[in-house]
């Protein structure tokens, strides 16, 4: 009777697994709330960034430190990883073979790691050019906001690895499915935060 009902954010299992669908409601809602508190943390870091845009103290500015090419590449990579995770969610929900599911998860992981690699390269370049957080308030606020997002992506990648280990071990039992639902929420949330980052931080800094 409640099978068709949408019980929580993100993809709902619905009639494909009614027991897990039932169990998922409080679990996914709780994770959704956690994401809201995380959103507040990011929002405040954005606000701090906004107040410290001018605190360059004669050091590197946004225009000198940011590069549009790598940012565009990172954006496309992360966006595509959101799509691949969406495909993974559908595979999980509609009973695809473990290989298909693992394939989509692996694709997401590869893209996630690629994103992190590019971002680390960016930070290394900035550091080499003297754009370090110890140089100014502006750079401090950049290096709090963007690496925090990166740390979240790192945690997400670790979580992906754990899930890729658990799927062969446990199959798609309720706990594995609910964990994948939550990871999905997390991954898409990180992409939403990245939209804000590339807009407020990089593009704003590069407008001439």
């Amino acid at each position: 009777m409640s099978a068709g009902e949408v019980k929580h954010a993100g993809l709902n299992l619905g009639a494909t697994d009614e027991d897990a669908h039932e169990q998922a409601e409080p679990d996914v809602f709780g994770f959704w709330i956690f994401l809201m508190s995380d959103a507040v943390i990011f929002a405040l870091l954005f606000a701090i960034y906004g107040t410290m845009l001018g605190a360059t103290v004669g050091g590197p500015t946004a225009a000198s430190a940011y590069k549009i090419g790598p940012t565009f590449a990172e954006t496309l990579i992360l966006l595509t990883s959101s799509f691949t995770f969406g495909m993974a969610s559908i595979a999980m929900k509609h009973g695809a073979t473990p290989r298909v599911l693992l394939g989509w998860l692996a694709a997401t992981l590869i893209l996630g790691v690629a994103f992190l690699g590019l971002e680390l390269h960016d930070f290394a370049t900035m550091t080499g050019d003297g754009a370090v957080p110890m140089r100014s308030g502006f750079l401090s606020s950049f290096f709090a906001l963007v690496p925090l997002h990166g740390l979240h992506v790192l945690a997400g990648c670790l979580w992906l690895v754990v899930m890729m280990v658990q799927v062969p071990i446990f199959g798609l039992d309720a706990r594995v499915k609910i964990n994948l639902l939550r990871l999905g929420l997390f991954w898409h949330f990180l992409d939403i935060v990245w939209i804000a980052i590339f807009s407020v931080v990089y593009l704003q800094g590069l407008i001439r």
Binding site: P26, G30, L44, I48, A55, P133, M134, G137, D173, R175
Partner: protein, 694 residues
């Protein structure tokens, strides 16, 4: 900064970090007090460990309490933690009062640096390690019972929150023995708490203790919100929840949204201190006002987190002990929601004097005054609840009455402070100190003490001694007035807060009165411990196993005292607001169900203790720059979380036969018990069964 003893292994630890060594090398009264406090921590821990070892209770403690995921046990442990920390912070308060009384044109006996640590620990402990655990504990115990649930939504997360809080409190206690605490107050303002002015371990202790506590509180808020949204029993719509659950819901929402700004503030300060960032430094583009803004974005909703649960308690207590339905339920709900939302709109009133324009200050001043309105609505609702009721002056009711009168006084001073021009005169004077203690003590503390007295029989199966309850109550009230009313006069007369000494002789008599008040407050706390002792000694005379000692109204009173592990053998269904009260008057509310089923309860788990202990040791490693230790603990926490995700066997079944046995025993005792009228409520005739008159 001096080099460490053995930097690679022990970071920046030196022998001089130990309070005993400092007192040995420089035996002034000041240092001896510090060493004495450290001695109490070490001896206290040793005595507790010795007692548990000698009585052979380690296994019992680990199995029945420390690894338990039962919300009732977790709630009790939170309250125990709160009382221990209350004792320490109250002692610190007495010390400060004695120092100020002695130090008018004289040096006193506590040096400025030590005094600064005292007011910093006093504030930090009272807010983060007394008040928050106290209200979290009461909410933990009561809320699932009130909504007809068997536990909170995330029992393991509940345990993790408890242990993170406990670990952080432990860190606070360690700071008495090893190193020193911050001298920057409970608010930790930079640039004073930056490396340039405070290179020592003090602010780091503060940062990590507060961070652990704030993470724990965010998780608790999340837990309670999901519990209330998703686990109410059939028929219990939101508008049929007890008021205490409504205040819990709003408190939870505040916790979820207000703790993040604190996490950001302390994290950024940590980045400044540990990695040389420039968020709040004086140089290279730092802006200290960003910190103040962040801190009070947290700090204002925080005080509403502290007070809303107390308001919920008063709603329950006033209704029960007026023998009358709560007046104006809808208005109370709306007022609670209004307070919750408005609490996010007033934070600038904590720093009116920092240079904003008059217009900006005015906006926040008006918002601040607005928040008094819903609180006033609540006061009126409680008064109307008592009106034409049959009021019984039990200890919880006495606390409620004292609250109504004293809190309103404090509220008036709040309205005064809300006027920016007036605030300019008394900001950071003892007037402000008097105001917030006037809100917190009669508001939060009386509420929590009332809650303890009210729900103790439910939790432990016997009533608390009423005589000692009254003695304690009397001391709390008299002590409060004597300790804090003079501070209004002093503050208006120009006495600055956080001052180790004064130079105005006219302050002396007021400071003496305040000192006497502090000693009476100490007596109040001691009376509470006496009350506990006497109550335990007399417990067999005061057992209320049937479970309803006060003729209660909510579902929590429909269980035995103490309730079984699973709370309800059959999840109740309700169709109104005071389901148990109505049930008593409508029919056979203790009727046994036709069948019993197996009940699943959460298995114990080591994850809570592991996270809390690893978290505290991680924090200790960060404080002392013992990087290998910090990394090890971080790895340990990550490994614990990942390992737990592989565990599938997380529940234990209580067989239907056991449930039947437990329930039948309870019903046999009800049948054998004599129902009593409210006149005999405080006698040993009260077995927890209420006489139903109509």
């Amino acid at each position: 900064m001096t080099d460490g003893l053995w930097p690679a292994l022990l970071g920046r630890f030196t022998w001089n970090a130990l309070a005993f060594v400092r007192a040995w090398e420089n035996p002034t009264v000041n240092e001896i007090i510090g060493a004495g406090a450290a001695m109490m921590v070490v001896l206290g821990a040793a005595v507790v460990i010795a007692i548990i070892t000698v009585t052979g209770k380690w296994g019992y403690l680990w199995r029945e309490w420390l690894t338990s995921l039962d919300h009732k046990k977790i709630g009790i442990m939170y309250v125990v933690l709160a009382f221990v920390m209350l004792a320490r912070a109250l002692a610190e308060a007495v010390l400060m009062r004695m120092q100020q009384a002695a130090a008018v044109n004289a040096p006193g006996f506590v040096e400025p640096d030590h005094f600064a640590q005292l007011f910093s620990t006093h504030g930090s402990i009272m807010i983060f390690f007394m008040a928050m655990p106290f209200l979290t504990g009461i909410i933990n115990y009561v809320t699932p019972l009130q909504i007809g649930a068997r536990d909170v939504a995330f029992p393991l997360l509940n345990s993790i929150s408890l242990w993170l809080t406990g670990g952080a409190a432990g860190l606070m206690m360690v700071s008495l023995v090893i190193g020193r605490f911050s001298t920057g107050g409970w608010s930790g303002y930079p640039p004073y708490t930056e490396l340039g002015f405070s290179p020592d371990v003090g602010p780091d202790y503060w940062i990590w203790a507060v961070t652990l506590g704030s993470i724990a509180s965010t998780l608790s808020g999340l837990n309670f919100a999901v519990t209330l949204y998703k686990m109410r029993c059939p028929g219990m719509t939101l508008m049929r929840m007890p008021l205490f659950c409504w205040t819990t819901l709003c408190t939870s929402i505040l916790m979820i949204f207000a703790m993040p700004p604190l996490t950001v503030a302390t994290a950024l300060l940590a980045l400044d201190r540990y990695l040389g960032f420039h968020f709040f430094t004086n140089d290279l583009g730092g802006n200290m006002m960003n910190y103040a803004n962040l801190f009070w974005l947290f700090g204002h909703p925080e005080v509403y987190i502290l007070i809303l649960p107390a308001f919920g308690v008063y709603s329950e207590v006033v209704s029960t002990f007026s023998s009358k339905e709560l007046y104006g339920y809808t208005s109370l709900v709306l007022a609670t929601m209004a307070i919750a939302v408005l609490s996010f709109t007033v934070w600038v009133h904590h720093f009116f004097t920092m240079g904003q324009s008059a217009n900006l200050n005015a906006v926040f001043g008006i918002a601040t005054m607005t928040i008094g309105v819903p609180t006033g609505v609540k006061i009126y609702d409680w008064i109307w609840t008592m009106f034409r009721g049959e009021v019984r002056f039990t200890v919880p009711m006495l606390y409620s009455l004292a609250f109504m009168m004293t809190f309103v006084l404090g509220g008036f001073t709040g309205i005064l402070l809300a006027f920016p021009p007036l605030d300019y005169l008394v900001h950071n004077t003892l007037f402000l100190v008097a105001h917030f203690h006037n809100m917190l003590i009669p508001g939060l503390l009386y509420g929590m003490l009332a809650a303890t007295h009210y729900w103790f029989p439910k939790a432990f199966g016997f009533r608390l001694n009423e005589k000692w309850g009254r003695i304690s109550f009397g001391c709390w009230v008299v002590g409060f007035y004597l300790a804090f009313m003079p501070l209004y006069v002093l503050g208006a007369g120009g006495a600055t807060r956080r001052s180790q000494a004064f130079f105005e002789p006219a302050f002396r008599p007021w400071l003496y009165v305040a000192g006497v008040g502090a000693l009476i407050l100490l007596t109040a706390l001691v009376s509470l411990f006496m009350q506990l002792w006497v109550s335990i000694r007399e417990r067999d005379d005061n057992r209320v196993f049937a479970g309803d000692p006060w003729d209660g109204r909510g579902l929590e009173w429909s269980t035995s005292a103490p309730p079984p592990e699973y709370n309800y053998a059959v999840i109740p269904a309700v169709d109104g607001r005071d389901p148990f009260y109505d049930g008593k008057r409508d029919g056979d509310v203790y009727a046994a169900p036709t069948t019993y089923e197996d009940i699943a309860v959460p298995r114990n788990s080591m994850v809570g203790p592991a996270t809390g202990i690893l978290g505290a040791v991680l924090a200790f490693g960060l404080v002392w720059h013992i990087w290998w230790l910090a990394l090890l603990c971080l790895g340990g926490i990550i490994a614990t979380v990942i390992a737990r995700s592989f565990v599938r066997d997380v529940e234990r079944i209580v067989p239907a036969a056991d449930v039947a046995r437990i329930e039948d025993r309870w019903r046999r005792m009800i049948a054998a018990a004599r129902p009593i009228s409210r006149h005999h409520e405080m006698t040993s005739a009260n077995q927890g069964l209420a006489e139903v008159t109509a």
